[in-house]
């Protein structure tokens, strides 16, 4: 394996690795703009120039490959390549390139959304000079919409062409192109083919400066005011890894988080903007009981007691409905709660979309169908049939939380039941037809594990605080279980739930949040931990 020396430190690397990759993997910072690990190398920004001994010109480290050289050409007899990234020459050249980049760049930091997470800011601070020597008139262009979700500020654009390469290689839709040449170059889209594919939001993520901005997030807040929570998207069964940015009880945006086993570097717009669904909904924040056409509020003790009583009175004629929108822990406890029929509402499905780069949007638009099937218990295939056949008179439902039009079959079923208990966070149509509504948590408030359609268990982390008197769904189920079986030791902590989950279902054994970490664990070929 080739041996490379960077700034006096030795590294053994795989043949064909670039100098930039080696540096990044070993904590040596080399500034870069146009390079992105998911995109083709273009070497056009010239920011990653380093000095390689033996070559007269400075080389772009993103395109300098390390390989074995014949023994007589090794430096000092042992190095296949010797690189300097911090010497005077390289430092000066970086300053020069930054000066060129800032020539037309407006001093927008106070009003630019990218401030605080801007590569240009960071590198100018670290590597640039304090003032510009440019005394001519700057090139000024008005902003333009490239699509309904993306606006471009041409004056800030440094023409790294990441966005153009993204639409060509990752989404395959090629809406963006570079128009004109030289100094007049600018990023553009054809008027009747705007950037409106489902991966469009990613271009704002990958833009290293504040040129491409998401209209959804523009001017809403400052990145340093926001809390960043790594979590998992819940809008389809792919389970893309995300970062949720929130402040107090409002989510401002989601960005993709890297996970090479799930989503690569990107996420789709359905998940990216999906959090808006939960902003203006009719929340349930305390237990409710039906009183004719309206609902009365109850306190928790009362609600739990009434629930348990209804179930006991039904003498085994209660069916439970799990949900592929709920966590493994909630579904597990639902399964353990009692014996009897288990089912779920018809799945929510959409279009399955596959992109040339391998990125996928699943047709299954629920995040945890696999988990629910694994861990809930035996799910009945034709639930309405079973409900009839077994004269079921009561339902305990984990509400999907998705407002949907219930068809007549289901409307009849609900009307027929003696009692319907719904665990939900919002007054969906389903909740409205319940007798008791137990307030659970909304998707961004939940914590637990979910399993994607490739069998990867991931840690779902909460970003928003709990509202009112709502309780985590697993906790509600644990309380009902305790009420029905007072002798049993109550579950006080989610880790207890996970432990028992692991005991009953060997594949899920030994899972803990700590072990899942930020990348999750695959169930495939998993043996006893």
């Amino acid at each position: 394996m080739p041996l490379i020396k960077i700034d006096g430190k030795e590294f053994e690397v795989e043949s064909g690795t670039t100098v930039l990759q080696t540096a990044e993997a070993n904590g040596i910072e080399i500034p870069q703009y146009c390079y992105h690990p998911a995109l083709e190398i273009v070497g056009s920004c010239r920011m990653c120039l380093v000095q390689v001994e033996g070559m007269p010109k400075l080389q772009v480290s993103c395109n300098t490959f390390v390989g074995d050289v014949p023994p007589d050409r090794k430096v000092d007899g042992k190095y296949d390549m010797v690189v300097h990234t911090q010497n005077d020459l390289v430092v000066q050249e970086r300053k020069n390139i930054l000066e060129f980049l800032l020539l037309n760049h407006p001093l927008d930091c106070p009003v630019c959304d990218q401030a605080g997470e801007c590569y240009l800011q960071d590198y100018s601070f670290k590597f640039g000079s304090a003032h510009s020597r440019f005394e001519e008139e700057k090139r000024v262009r008005p902003n333009e919409y490239l699509g309904s979700q993306i606006v471009i500020n041409h004056n800030r654009c440094i023409l790294c062409s990441r966005c153009v390469r993204f639409t060509q290689e990752i989404s395959g839709t090629s809406e963006l192109f570079v128009e004109a040449r030289g100094y007049n170059s600018k990023i553009a889209a054809l008027e009747d083919r705007p950037l409106d594919n489902l991966l469009a939001g990613n271009v704002a993520d990958i833009c290293p400066v504040g040129a491409l901005l998401s209209t959804d997030y523009i001017h809403k807040n400052r990145i340093w005011n926001l809390d960043q929570q790594p979590s998992v998207c819940q809008d389809c069964s792919v389970g893309c890894n995300v970062d949720v940015f929130s402040r107090k009880n409002q989510i401002f945006r989601l960005t993709a988080r890297e996970n090479q086993d799930v989503n690569g570097y990107f996420m789709c717009d359905i998940g990216r903007y999906g959090f808006h669904r939960f902003e203006e909904i009719d929340r349930v924040v305390q237990p409710l009981m039906r009183n004719g056409e309206t609902f009365d509020a109850l306190d928790w003790d009362e609600a739990i007691q009434k629930t348990a009583k209804l179930i006991e009175q039904a003498k085994g004629k209660t069916a439970r409905m799990g949900s592929p929108f709920h966590t493994n822990e909630s579904n597990f406890l639902l399964g353990q709660m009692m014996a009897g029929i288990l089912g779920s509402l018809p799945p929510i499905r959409g279009e399955e979309i596959n992109y040339p780069s391998g990125f996928r949007i699943s047709a299954d638009r629920s995040p945890n169908l696999r988990g629910m099937t694994d861990i809930c218990g035996e799910i009945a295939e034709d639930l309405p049939f079973e409900l009839n056949a077994r004269n079921i008179c009561g339902l305990y439902i984990l509400d999907d939380g998705v407002d949907r039009d219930l068809d007549n079959t289901w409307k009849d079923i609900l009307a027929r039941m003696d009692f319907v208990i719904v665990q939900s966070y919002a007054m969906t149509d389903l909740a409205k037809s319940a007798h008791i509504v137990l307030p659970g948590l909304a998707p961004f408030e939940r914590e637990g594990t979910i399993t994607n359609d490739q069998g990867r268990v991931q840690w779902l982390r909460p970003s928003l605080p709990i509202q009112g008197e709502a309780k985590p769904d697993w906790e509600i189920l644990a309380l009902v279980m305790k009420e029905m079986d007072p002798g049993k030791l109550p579950m006080q902590d989610i880790s207890q739930v996970m432990k028992e989950m692991g005991e009953k279902f060997p594949d899920y054994k030994g899972l803990s949040f700590f072990r899942l970490g930020s990348t999750g664990i695959s169930l495939n070929g998993r043996h006893e931990a």
Binding site: S44, V60, N96, I97, F100
Partner: protein
């Protein structure tokens, strides 16, 4: 001066010299006949031995370039004839195409045979419409006479040639920019590695050769590498088409041996400077080379090595003569504007630097300059194209040689005619 017998332009005075029948009557295609019986490696070796260096501007050894083609690649090899003559001061390829297209074609077929190519392209600049029409006729003639297509001259070798028009971009004369343009995209040069000889057109091994370089090949085959090597300096020999324009009495293309003195070219061949004016400065190798002062110009030979020693380069051998009536600052601005217009915009130093340069020079010419501006021009040029002093280590920050092409001439203008630049500064700024 010993009269030199022209090689490439020997028959240019004949009306019909461009026709196939005439070309054949003076021995045309006999080199090809010979080559078709040789082993391709032999041909490459012969060209290597001749020390033929590219006539497009870079001056790289042709034989060595051909040698880079991988011997055992499963991918097809391509030859591209670079007829995108856009370097200011250069107009020799146009002459060759008009007067001796078959000479160029024969050279192309020889080159294609040597590198194992079955499909070759002629990338001709879009503005050369008349030459394009002529080449189409020539191609048709060649196909009819079994000089192209299947079983050329009865051999087992097949070659197709496609003529491809450019559309107005100087950067498409750069080999990877040309390849990108040929692939149907914008002419943005590619980063190297990979090199075109390994991954070029359609990621296949590709060789790009200039028109004049190809035109030399039949003669090398016919008369031998040693003959070629004996013309002019051994390290960069051969007959060369020198273009002279600007302030001269008889501008035009002159075929001379490599190593002719620049003084002879200007004052003998081109008839000297009109109206008895004095020489001031010269571009020896197209506008991408550093300028020489009159003193330097009168003392130099047109040779690859010597010009590099003098701090310039032979490039495309497009000599532009400037006399005492020429304002150096205006000339510098003219060249700077050319490069800013032709910059492809891909990499940062060139895109921003060329525009900055033009803006600064325009401001200077309009009376708004300051003394620091002059020094800043040096710095900006170094930041794009690097120092001319190669011993200092670093030069050129751009993807392609365009950076050096703008930096070297502009820098030389300011360095050698600084007082003219200072003249443009408003009085009060200078005295302050």
């Amino acid at each position: 001066m010993k009269a030199f017998k022209p090689v490439l332009t020997e028959y240019f005075h004949e009306q019909e010299c461009h026709t196939l029948s005439f070309y054949k009557s003076v021995g045309g295609y006999s080199a090809l006949e010979k080559v078709l019986k040789m082993d391709p490696q032999e041909v490459i070796q012969e060209v290597k031995d001749s020390n033929l260096r590219g006539r497009g501007g870079a001056g790289f050894s042709t034989g060595v370039k051909w040698g880079f083609i991988p011997k055992d690649s499963p991918k097809p090899t391509y030859l591209i004839n670079n007829a995108d003559e856009s370097e200011p001061g250069t107009f020799k390829d146009r002459l060759l195409m008009n007067k001796a297209p078959h000479q160029m074609l024969e050279g192309m077929i020889i080159a294609a045979y040597a590198i194992g190519c079955q499909t070759a392209f002629i990338y001709i600049r879009g503005e050369f419409y008349k030459e394009f029409q002529l080449l189409k006729k020539i191609m048709a003639e060649a196909y009819e006479n079994k000089l192209l297509g299947q079983n050329i001259m009865g051999s087992t070798y097949n070659l197709d040639v496609v003529i491809h028009r450019g559309a107005g971009a100087y950067i498409c004369g750069e080999e990877t920019g040309l390849i990108e343009s040929l692939e149907g995209k914008r002419g943005w040069p590619r980063i190297k590695p990979p090199f075109p000889a390994i991954e070029g057109y359609l990621q296949c091994p590709t060789i790009v050769n200039n028109v004049e370089t190809l035109a030399c090949l039949p003669h090398i085959i016919n008369r031998g590498a040693d003959w070629f090597k004996s013309i002019g300096p051994e390290k960069g020999p051969g007959p060369r088409l020198f273009c002279i324009s600007g302030r001269v009495n008889n501008p035009g293309v002159f075929e001379e041996p490599m190593g002719i003195s620049l003084k002879d070219l200007i004052f003998d061949r081109a008839g000297g400077i009109p109206d008895g004016k004095k020489l001031k400065a010269v571009f020896p190798g197209g506008s991408s080379s550093a300028i020489l002062t009159a003193e330097e110009a009168l003392d130099v030979k047109m040779d690859f090595e010597e010009l590099v020693e003098k701090g310039s380069m032979l490039g495309s051998a497009g000599v532009i003569v400037m006399d005492e009536t020429v304002d150096m600052v205006q000339a510098c601005l003219n060249i700077a504007r050319f490069y800013a217009h032709e910059s492809c915009g891909q990499c940062t130093p060139c895109r921003e630097g060329t525009a900055w340069l033009v803006k600064m020079l325009t401001r200077l010419v309009n009376g708004g300059g300051t003394p620091t501006d002059i020094d800043m021009i040096f710095e900006i040029m170094d930041n794009i194209g690097g120092l001319i002093d190669f011993s200092k280590g670093s030069f050129g920050k751009t993807i392609c040689p365009f950076g050096e092409a703008v930096a070297w001439p502009v820098r030389s203008f300011v360095e050698k005619f600084k007082d003219e630049f200072l003249e443009y500064l408003p009085r009060e700024k200078v005295l302050a």
